[in-house]
């Protein structure tokens, strides 16, 4: 690659000097022939070179664009793994086809006209000031095309942003400098209340769970992987802890900002499991990834989380294996009000109980276990 660039660079420099020296010669010759000294902008003989240059540029550009487009298209949109993703991909390629045609067509007119109508002393330009029919035509045609694209876009957009189905799997994802954290509602299917004022990294409560709400006792969280079931609607409830972030899952065509103080959401159906993608791509290392796309500070580029799309039964099994936040951080028990202690203790493993706990709590724990 480097060598090709080096050769091209040298070629480019040599050609540039060639063009300069040629142009200079011609210009100098032309100057003598100049009749009207006050007409300093009169076309010099470089005029034809520049006109030809524009045409040659365009021919080369068409070749280069076409080749590079075909060559690199293998890396374009990574394979869509969500239902709405294939829909937006379809409309992306439809729009792309339209604008590619327009790109080649309009630029061709521009450069071909530049060449065809280069200055000639024998000819006078046409005095062609306006043509209302033409104006109407080229106002209407883009307007009609736009209307078509807008309508398709509106339909797809309103489907994607519609309310999630009732049975959607709800998962909360929170952005922080510089990592993602996900929370699941646990076996009761209800998220416990949370409050940013209760957040405490040191205590093991980075999401600010409110332990006066018993729904929070079985909530579990993960800071390395997001697991979701295949083929089932998943509703991401998106939050941010410090600054703006944005959840971006390239393969799922999912992107939504995480805003402090304003929870957002995005729902989608992933229909290719991680294992299926591994097999399809022949890449045993493959994983879906989550990135951040809203500038959030110095390690913005490092907010990576792995997304695992599991078969529904694997997903259910994985969920059962996860330990609630309370189980992992038994010291959080101090935030549980006295009358709810018994319920909370179900989630505390016996050997993890703080030594200083009062005997009734221990007794209750033993009883439940």
């Amino acid at each position: 690659m480097i060598y090709i660039i080096a050769i091209l660079t040298i070629l480019f420099v040599v050609l540039t000097f060639k063009v300069i020296s040629q142009t200079r010669k011609i210009i100098n010759k032309n100057k003598a022939a100049e009749s009207d000294p006050s007409y300093q902008g009169a076309p010099d003989s470089a005029n034809n070179i520049n006109a030809a240059g524009l045409l040659i540029f365009w021919i080369l550009a068409v070749i280069a664009t076409t080749w590079s487009y075909i060559h690199y298209s293998q890396y374009f949109l990574p394979e869509a793994s969500s239902v709405h993703g294939r829909q937006t991909d379809f409309w992306f390629w439809v729009s792309m086809a339209i604008i590619t045609v327009a790109f080649f067509l309009v630029n061709s007119f521009l450069f071909v006209f530049s060449y065809l109508y280069r200055h000639s002393g024998k000819r006078k330009a046409a005095f062609y000031t306006h043509n209302n029919t033409l104006e109407v035509v080229w106002t209407t045609v883009p307007a009609v095309v736009m209307t078509g694209l807008v309508l398709s876009g509106l339909v797809v957009w309103s489907e994607i942003t519609s309310d999630a189905p009732e049975d959607a799997e709800v998962i909360e994802i929170t952005g922080r400098q510089f990592a993602w954290m996900v929370r699941y509602s646990g076996e009761d299917g209800e998220f416990g209340k949370s409050n940013y004022k209760l957040m405490n990294d040191g205590e093991g409560n980075p999401l600010g769970l409110d332990f006066t709400d018993p729904n929070s006792y079985d909530d579990f969280y993960n800071s390395t992987e997001l697991h979701i079931p295949k083929g089932k609607p998943v509703l991401l409830k998106i939050k941010a802890r410090d600054v703006l972030h944005s959840v971006f899952i390239p393969h799922m065509r999912v992107k939504m900002d995480a805003v402090p103080g304003m929870p957002t959401k995005f729902w989608f159906i992933a229909d290719k499991s991680t294992d299926e993608m591994k097999a399809a791509l022949g890449d045993s290392e493959f994983d879906y990834e989550i990135a951040c796309t809203e500038i959030c500070g110095k390690s913005h580029f490092g907010m990576r989380m792995v997304l695992k799309v599991d078969e529904p039964e694997d997903y259910a099994k994985w969920k059962r294996e996860q330990k609630p936040i309370l189980t992992l951080n038994p010291d959080l028990l101090v935030h549980v009000p006295e009358k709810l202690k018994a319920r909370a203790l179900r989630y505390i493993e016996a050997d993890a109980l703080p030594a200083a706990n009062d005997s009734t709590a221990v007794a209750a724990a033993v009883e439940i276990n």
């Binding site: 690659m1 729009s95 006078k124």
Partner: protein
Amino acid sequence: MAAHSLAEEHGHAEHGHEEHHEQGFFSKYVFSLDHKTIAKQYLISGILWAVLGGLMSVIFRLQLAFPDMDMTFLKPFLGHWINESGKLDNNFYLALVTMHGTIMVFFVLTAGLSGTFSNLLIPLQIGARDMASGFMNMISYWLFFIAGVLMFISLFLPHGPAGGGWVIYPPLSALEEANPGSGTGMTLWLVAMAIFIASSLLGSINYVTTTLNLRTKGMSMSKLPLTIWSFLFTAVLGILSFPVLFSAALLLIFDRSFGTSFYLSDIYIQGQALPNQGGSPILFQHLFWFLGHPEVYIVILPAFGITSEIISTNSRKPIFGYKAMILSMLGIMVLAFIVWAHHMFVTGMNPFLGSIFMLLTLIIAVPSAVKGFNYITTLWRGNLIFTPAMLFAIGMVSFFVSGGLTGIILGNAALDIQLHDTYFVVAHFHLVMGSAAFFSMIAGVYHWFPKMYGRMMNSTLGYIHFWISFIGVYMVFIPMHYIGIAGFPRRYYQWSGFKVFDTFADLNIVITIAAAITVFAQFIFIYNFFYSMFKGKKASANPWKSNTLEWTTPVDLGHGNWPGEIPTVYRWPYDYSKPGAPDDFIPQNVPFSATPESNTPEENELIAKEKEIENIKYDHSIPD
């Protein structure tokens, strides 16, 4: 181009003699009230800023193409921003990206473009001796200068300049603990921008007032060159939208320094829950983009005007669809105010609002397309002279078309989900507004240099400059679209942490090399510019055989522009290659009575009214 109502004409005091008062160095070159000098001040400031902004882009492009590169050689310039292992500091990377954006958008393409050409051309093309208020004009430049000094100082702060992206979204920009650039660097950014806005408003008010009130005899609105129309629309956009950015900045200053919560709510950072509640970061985004979107038209409308003028002159052909051009600019101006939230489709804004803004956004593509078609039809059957200015103007049209097309995809909310904040967006706006406006600015300099300095720029160097820049820009931004389609996020220090973004290493190298060559090619222009200023060939009064009024002034034009009376205007500015006329151009100040051979029947009827125009009396109490 039928009969014009002349009753509304207002003019300027005619002194009929040149003012000969001695000026000292300071009042002539520094605190000058002369619109031409102020234009040059804006231009040279703009060039200096462009050099800085361009070099910044080379540094961060190096980082993106060669993430493992040893950058120790930059240590003499960047000091501790290159760490012990020779790596670019990642906070400074963000600062570079932020400052590149801020400098290019505001200091180069707003102040450098509008400031230069509105100041230079409005009085000269409408036939006025100076701006409505020379004093306000001077204040406008010096406020811009102060804003620039503050922004420049921020580059040398120990914690670096602002680093939250040029859009400075809070809370990142509001909390010093979130980002080192959000400390003093951000304070200076905000203060500099507040002063910049004041400067821009003073300038814009002047442009509007001058255009509406100081036109010469016969210069009705329907005879204005498209340049003036575009400057007028730009100024109106600026007056109505910049104050909103000011309010956004002011509220951010309150949040940063006085404990308010306009944009802050529910934040836990570095082990601390902040007391702020009830604010909304989205509010800032709405306020920011209420300027931010019109801003791209503030950048591109003057580019349209300059391009129209240059293409028409060098095609030796009237601009095609003069009225359609004005109407499409008017349409763009009005629509520019109601499309801002297409920058916010995935911010969590109500999806219904997203639908509305998608609809409005795609409507704005229509007048933009009309402009492109009109330019191309102007070339059709022309007699094209490829001066450096003409080449750059054609390049501008090509960039505008190529870059504008991808806007159709980004304006579609459903498709924007995947592409938002990826390199597809970066490639899109760099082509459609960055490079296009930059090219028109360069084109304008080549074209009006003879009016600014009385000398010609070297055209051979101009051709070389064009070809390297033109090919270079496409080599940078076409591949960048590919990277964007693959989903690469912008403002990433490196991508190798992600498997999905671990491709395209070769294309990133191509882009960086092309970008570096393009940036360094601009030094050819800078050399040409300063060399020609002193050593260039002496220009004639009308070197391009152009129709507009500025070419009726003498080569060494002093204060007041015309030594005698200001010329009277009889015709539109695009009478090129008129059938029957001996020359291929008829300047605006040539009466129809002098061109019986080329007049249309309607124009022959206008001859009777010429005396009426000439006898218009102006209010002489208006000072020069």
